[in-house]
Symmetry: C2
Subunit: 628 residues, 2 copies
Amino acid sequence: MNIKLTTDEVFPIEGDQDIYRALKKAGIYISASCGGRGLCGKCKVRIIEGDCEVISYGNLPAKEREQGIVLACKTLAKGDLLIEIPKQSRLMVGDKIALSNAESLQDYFKGYGVEITPLVRRVHVELPPPTLSDNISDLDRLERRLQEMGLSPMRFSHGFVSTMAETMRLSNWSFDINYIEDDHCLRQAIFLTSEGFCNRRFGIAVDIGTTTVVAYMVNLLDGSLVDSGSTYNSQIRYGDDVITRIVYAAEGNGLGDLRNAVIEDINNIINAIREKHNISRCEIDSVVIAGNTTMSHLFWGLNPASIREEPYIPTVNRFHLWRASSARLAINPQSPIYTMPCVASYVGGDIVSGVLASKMHRSPEIALFMDIGTNGEIVIGNNEWLMTAACSAGPCFEGSGISSGMRATKGAIEEVTFDPINGEPSLKVIGDAHPLGICGSGMIDALSGFYINGIINQKGKFIPEKSKRIREGENGMEYVFYADPQTGREITLSEVDIDNLIRAKAAIYAGINTLLNEAGLSIDMIQRVYIAGGFGNYLNVKKAISIGMLPDIEESKYSYLGNTSITGAYLALMSSELIKEVEDIASRMTYIELSVSAGFMDDYMSALFLPHTDIDRFPRVKSILQGM
Amino acid sequence: MNIKLTTDEVFPIEGDQDIYRALKKAGIYISASCGGRGLCGKCKVRIIEGDCEVISYGNLPAKEREQGIVLACKTLAKGDLLIEIPKQSRLMVGDKIALSNAESLQDYFKGYGVEITPLVRRVHVELPPPTLSDNISDLDRLERRLQEMGLSPMRFSHGFVSTMAETMRLSNWSFDINYIEDDHCLRQAIFLTSEGFCNRRFGIAVDIGTTTVVAYMVNLLDGSLVDSGSTYNSQIRYGDDVITRIVYAAEGNGLGDLRNAVIEDINNIINAIREKHNISRCEIDSVVIAGNTTMSHLFWGLNPASIREEPYIPTVNRFHLWRASSARLAINPQSPIYTMPCVASYVGGDIVSGVLASKMHRSPEIALFMDIGTNGEIVIGNNEWLMTAACSAGPCFEGSGISSGMRATKGAIEEVTFDPINGEPSLKVIGDAHPLGICGSGMIDALSGFYINGIINQKGKFIPEKSKRIREGENGMEYVFYADPQTGREITLSEVDIDNLIRAKAAIYAGINTLLNEAGLSIDMIQRVYIAGGFGNYLNVKKAISIGMLPDIEESKYSYLGNTSITGAYLALMSSELIKEVEDIASRMTYIELSVSAGFMDDYMSALFLPHTDIDRFPRVKSILQGM
C-alpha cells in the first residue's frame, strides 16, 4: 500500500502501521510533542481519498473530523491513501530551505579567520585511583588535579557532581572534563565525558523567529552541518505577531503557554534529528539561541510585558550563560546556552546575529542591513559605528495574514512571472511540488507584476478588465493563481492581502529612510545592502525596488543573505572569539526609537502607494514605467 | 466531642472534622506529605476506643486495618475517641527535647563573640525609573547601580532574573538585593525583597540524623528560635543503619526513594512550622544542613556506594553552596544551602558541626568529643590539632533495634532507678506522660541498674531469681518495665536488646581507646569530655561509666551537650565567620580508619563485658562493686 501526499510524493505504508510512523520512516516529520501516542493532538493530516481505520480521534473538534482531519499517529491505512499535511503540522528536517544561502557553512566559517573554539572547553584529566592512604573525596581528587593543571578555581554545580563519580569510575579515572569560562575568568564544570561515553561533540544553533523556528545540528569538531530542521513557531496559535503574544503572555498562564509552545517546537526538531542520526542527548554540549527580544524573553519564560509599554524596557538584553535544564531543552541538562544579546525592545539577538553573519561590522564600507521577517529591522554602519531601528512591518512576508500565504518551504510559490503577451502568470514552486501557497518572494513578484502590468493601480486596487483571473471573492476582489485539481484548494491574492503587503513594504521603506536621515546619510552614500529574511532561496531585488519596498540603489550593491539569524548563531556556536565579536556588535549598536519619530510616520504615509507618492525617489522604476 | 491520646492528652474535635485536622489545630502534628488528602498513607493512628467514620482506608494493608489503624485525615469522630499515635507518625513541633541543652541559643551564640552575618547578605538599592532616553534593560539598570555601589561583578541566575522585573516595578525601583559571596569573592544574586514583600528573614538549621531529623526555624535578624521540629528519618523504612541504606541506594530507584524520604521529612517540618507561625516560603533565605557523610550524600541525591567499599571514598566532603531548588526544599528556590563539610566516609558534617558547638577547637585544653547517635564518632584534640575516628555503634541508643526502643521524645522513659530494698524500678518519663518506650539514657540507666543490682551477669544474661519481672518472652528472656492498662502495650528489655546495647557500648569504648593510642595519649591526659547525642535532656555519666561505655574519667570533666549537630548548624546559620571556622575545623581534622585497625578489634572484643574484661581500667566501678 502507498501514501500519496498532495505534494505528489509517494511512500509505502504497511498494513499495521500508522500514518505518523510510515511518514517518519520515509523522512517526513510531523509535529507531535507526545512522540506519536495520540495525546498531544498535533499530528493532524487530512485524508482526501482512500480507506483508513481511525483508532482514535483524540480531542479533534467535530468540525475538523468532518473535513477528513485525523491524527496521523492513530490512523491506519486500509488501502492506498491520498493525504494532505497541513503546513502547521509539518516539521521540516533536512530542509534545504532552512540553509538558505549558507550551504557551505564550513567554508563560510573559515572566511572569518578564527579557530574552532566552542563555548564548552574540553581537557583530558588522569587521576590516581583512591587508596586507603590517599582517601580524599572524588571531588577533592578532581580539584587537586585541576589545580596542578592551572584550571583552578572551578565551580561545580549540583548537576555536575550528581553524575561525576560514576563517570570517574567507569572511565577508570581517565576522562575529559568539559567546562566553560565566563567573562570574569570564572570556570564552571559542565560534565565529564570519556572514551565511548558521550565523547562526540554536537551543538545546536537555533533561530527563534516569530513565525518560523529553525535549528541546525552541528558537529563541533569540524563545523559540519549534521542536519537542519524547521517548523512554524507554535506560538502562532496565540497570535501572529509579537504584540498579540505579549498581550497574551499577561493572561492567566499565557506566559507559560507561550514558553512551552516554543520549547516544544525546538525539542521536536532536536529529537527528530537526534533519532535520525543516532545522537544521544548527552552528546549535545552547547546551544546558541538567536531571536528577537520578545522571542528571547519567552524562550526563557521572562515576562515581556514592559517591552510593549513606553518606555519599552526589556528585562534582559545581555543574557547570562544559563543551562539547558533551566531552559528545559531536551539535551544534556548541564549544557550552557548562549543567547544572542539584544539591543532594545524591538532590535533583538536575531539582528545582532545577522550583523555578525553579514560581516558589515568588520568593513569600513557603509552598509545597510535589513532583516525582513515578522518585523523589519534595519542596521546602518560599518566597522566604526552602527545604528539600528525597527519598523513594525508585520508577518505577511512570512505568510501570516495573507490568505494563501505560507513560509518558504516545499510547495510554496517562490517566483511569479507574467507573460508579456497574454498576461498569464507562470509559477515556480519550491521543490517542484504542487503549489500549496505563496511565500514572501512570490508575493513581491506578484505585487510587482500586478503593478507593472497594470492589473492593480497605484493604491493596490484591482482593475478587473485587465485579467480574467480577477473575481469577486469572499473578502472582496481577488486574483486566482492556481486551483488544485485534486483538492480543489485555490491560491489567491485578494485586495485585503495586497493592502497588507503595501503597508508592510511602506513600513520597511519608511524605516530605512528615517534611519538614513537620523544618520545624516543619503541613499547614494550606501555602499552595500544586505537583505536577510525568510524569503527562501530567492528574492528578486529589482521587483522589490519596483514596488517601493527597497530603496532605488544599483542592483549590484544588493546581496540577499537569506536567514542570517541562524547563520550568525552557527558562527557563535563554532567560536568563542566570534561570541566576543557578537558582544562587541551589540554594545556598539545605537538604537533609534521610530515609534516616537514624527518623520517616520510621514515617510510611512507617503510610502503607502506603488512605488511611492514621490516617484522621483525611484528613478529606475520611473523610467521603466515611462518606457511602457 | 474529645480525642484522648494514649499519652493522656485530651483535645476537642468537631463533628465534621477529621482527626488529622483536629490534632493539627491542637498543635499535634502527624506526618503527611500529601497535606492530609488521603494520598500518602502516612498519617496512621490507631483507634483504641470510640465510634468513628472511616471515609477511606487508602492503601492501608488489611493487617493494619484489623489492628484498628486508620488514616487520620480520612477518619471522622462520631463520639469521644481514645487513640494512639504510632511514634513514626508523629511530627514533633515546638518539642523542647529537640532543643536539648541549648535552650538559650541566642546567649550561646553571643558566647562566640562574632557578629550576626548570615550567609545571604542584604543591601538596599534605589534605581532611577526607566525613561525613553534611559531605556536600558532592567538587568543592565541593576548592574549599572551595583557597579556604582562596588558590588560588581555579580552573577545572575535564571531563577533570579525570572522574578526580578516584577519586584523592581512593584517596589517602585526601591528594594533590597540579597546575594551571597563565595570563597573566590564571587557574588551571586539570590533574589530581591522589598518593603512588605518577603522582607522578614528566616533561616533553617537541619540535623539529618540516621534515626532522627531535627530542624530549627531561626529569625536571622536577632538569632531567636522561632520554633523547632523533629521526626523520625523516614529512610528507616529502607533500613535502620547507614550500611543497609547504602546497599538499598544501589537497588533500582533506591537512591531516589531515600532522597525523597528525607526531603519529605524536612519539608514536613518546615511546612508545619511555617503554617503555625505564618511564614511564607520566600522569607526563608538560607539553610544549613548537618549530617553524617551518607546522610549528606542522600540529601543531595549523590550515590553513596563507594562510601561502603574499601578504600571508603565519598563523592564529596566539601559541598558547594547549591540552591534550595536543587535540593527540592520547600523554601525560596533561590536560597543557598550550606552543607557542613565532611571529613571522611564515616566522620561527617554532624561531627564537624558538633566540634564547633563544643568550642574544643578554640581551647588549648585537650578534649575528647563524642557523638553517640546511630554511629559513634570521636574527636580528640584542641586548638592546635584534631584527630577523629568512627566506630559503628549501631542505632540502638536512638531506639532502633531495641524492642521497646524509641527516641527521646514525649513518652520515652529517660531515667530508670532501682529501689535498693525491693529492686523495683521507678521510671521518669519525658513530658510526664504515660510511657510509650525507652530512650537511650533510659537504656543506659537500666543496663547499669541491672548490672549493679545483679539482675544480669557480666555477659548481660538475666539471673531470673533476682526479679519477678524477668520472664521468658517471644525472643528469649526479658524484663518488663511497664504494662499500659489501657492499650496493653508492654515496655521490656530482652537479652537480645541487652546484647545489642553491650555491642554498642563496646564499640564506643574501643573507639575511644584506639584513638587515644593513635594520638599517643593516656586517659588521664584528657582535660574535658563532651558527650553529644540523642539522649534527650539527660545522660547519667556515672552509669554510662559503670557499664564501660565511657572511660573512667572524673565525672566533673564530663559535659553532656545534647544534639550538637543542630547547635552547630544554628551557629553556622547565624554567622559567616563561624562558617569559616567550620571549614577550618574540617580541614584540620585527621581521620583514622578504625575498620582496618587491628588494635580496635582487640579492644572491642575485650569491651564485650560489663564493664570490661580488664576491670582495672575502671577503678571507680571496681570500688563500687567491691563495696557491695
